[in-house]
Point group: C2
Chain length 348, copies 2
């Protein structure tokens, strides 16, 4: 396996280095060819480097696998993206992205402000030709061991029909190259299956996709079909995608926890039964555990940027690092770029 | 209890009289003061009047509790609302609404084309003063035996900030009068909790709600908080509301069925265990069963119109009839009208 280098915005997310630093060490332990830049306030980063592994960490640093980069500011979550970008000089997010821009790292992972990450990524790393705005994409598990590529998950709260078409095309290429599906089914998320339903922009995108014979476009799907595996690619605007995926996550959390509570622990038999059940539930529904598929790729850039949930814990942030590794190994931006020119509608 | 009279669009939904007629008889059996108009193709309606109860049905007809009204057309689900309304003369949906308009019935229930039902209801029954567009509302069960008033669920795919504010005010009055909450918490569904997040129309609605000191406005909530009971009223546009609620319904269906399948029936012990579990699941999560809360009220009209799921089965359509009964008994339109004038922002 070739060498992998990833830049982590260590100050991002609700917990900053408290989560990012141990996840980074975990990744270094598990991936022998991985190198990591940790970008942030070095005092804080050093605080969260696990003491019990200090020998190992020194070794990683001596081998050049763990590199610490000082940043002087953090982009807050409640900053307006335009303001954040104007004042991004020296911030952990910007320095991590610059490492990718300067070819020192192959991917950047951040749990920070989505709008700022999107704007700075476009500014520093540029979109692919033909893509107006990159989209956040995740591969979401569905019934019967299937997977669905879902985008946009929140990079673009407002989208027009051209953007939806571009998302469909990028999602289709992703399903081909990462999920190895020869002719991926592509659907638009809508509030009815009939042609007349929904918003103007969705109907317009539908007409364009119908006329594109390179895309296996299957029409509209509704919310209740999200996890059924009826499509390989599901396209929606970033507002709807974000609300929908968060709704799924919330419901699974409620389900997991209320089942646990309701069983209680009244007797030894019930205790054993409850344990057995929880294993069963974890086996059956663990695949829907949001932590397992944390890390949405900012698709449509010339380089790899992974957005982690702001609320990610160590396990989830580790999953986002693994998403970055997968994206590097499958060479997503190059594959999208190569297929894009033939798939995009020709402008006159 | 006073007499109740409801008009049912018997030709509506995916199954028409096959579902509506038996649900109507079930309601007549259970509510002794209820009268029902069944509007549709009489040949078809007669076909689905349960044969084994023919004596009872004749009795209901003689007592004037079951009245059959012939219609000559059906508004199809894939008809454009504007076209459907222009050609609605003699349709089952229009005749059912006209019975309400003429004070022969107190409420109408239809599982038909949402856009057409909305348009015809506005045309025939009129909106309350100050309400631009009625909204589909449902009371959705949440954690800890709480309930959340959610609107709009699909009557208005596109909304501006004024409509969102009107939805918030109507939802608040509903929570007060039906859920008996003195100061209902009101939230807007958004993709982040920070002020800067989301769409312009949501931020504008938020500013208006903040300045309205009659409303206990608590800010933004995200998708993962939908069923947690963190708010009493949750407001969103009809597109997002429809996708979100359908996502919840789909997920619960997947959960119920895949649990059943995965347990299998390998031995007597497992068989017994599986039955016990399914009872447990039904008890814990049955409250989320979409069929149980079928029937969304078209809030903001001068009369009561209930929209049932198009795919409703008998049990679900019966639930929609019960929603109509509840709306009549709690006198929703009058209560909304009475509180509306003081709650709406004053226009200069």
């Amino acid at each position: 396996m070739d060498n992998l280098t990833i830049a982590l915005d260590a100050m991002s997310g609700d917990f900053g280095p408290r989560v990012v630093v141990p996840a980074a060490i975990q990744a270094l332990n598990n991936y022998p060819t991985l190198s990591i830049f940790l970008v942030g306030c070095l005092t804080e980063i050093n605080l969260f480097l696990p003491k019990e592994n200090s020998k190992l960490i020194t070794q990683y640093q001596q081998e050049g696998r763990l590199m610490l980069m000082e940043s002087t500011s953090v982009i807050a979550n409640d900053m307006k993206p335009s303001y954040a970008i104007r004042h991004s000089q020296g911030s952990s997010m910007r320095i991590a992205l610059e490492l990718v821009k300067d070819n020192k790292a192959q991917a950047c992972v951040s749990a920070g402000n989505t709008g700022a990450l999107m704007g700075l990524s476009k500014l520093l790393l540029h979109s692919l030709t033909g893509i107006d705005r990159p989209a956040l994409v995740a591969i979401v598990p569905a019934l019967n061991n299937q997977n669905t590529v879902v985008l946009d998950l929140g990079a673009n709260a407002e989208c027009d029909s051209d953007m939806l078409v571009q998302f469909a095309i990028m999602g289709e290429i992703l399903a081909k190259t990462v999920l190895n599906i020869e002719y991926p089914r592509v659907a638009l998320l809508n509030i009815g299956e009939e042609d007349i339903k929904g918003l103007d922009k969705i109907r317009a995108a539908s007409a364009i996709l119908k006329s594109n014979n390179q895309i296996n476009y299957i029409g509209y799907l509704e919310g209740n079909e999200l996890l059924t595996g009826k499509t390989d690619v599901l396209v929606c605007d970033g507002f709807v995608g974000n609300v929908t995926l968060k709704t799924v996550e919330g419901l699974i959390k409620i389900f997991m926890s209320s089942f646990k509570l309701s069983l209680g622990h009244h007797s030894l038999l019930l205790k054993l039964l409850s344990k057995w059940l929880q294993r069963k539930i974890a086996k059956n529904f663990g695949y829907l555990d949001p932590g397992r598929y944390n890390g949405a790729c900012l698709l449509g850039l010339r380089s790899i940027v992974i957005k982690s949930h702001g609320s990610a814990n160590q396990k989830s942030f580790y999953a986002a690092i693994e998403q970055a590794i997968l994206a590097i190994q499958t060479n997503i931006p190059e594959k999208i770029a190569a297929s894009l020119s033939s798939a995009l509608p020709k402008s006159e």
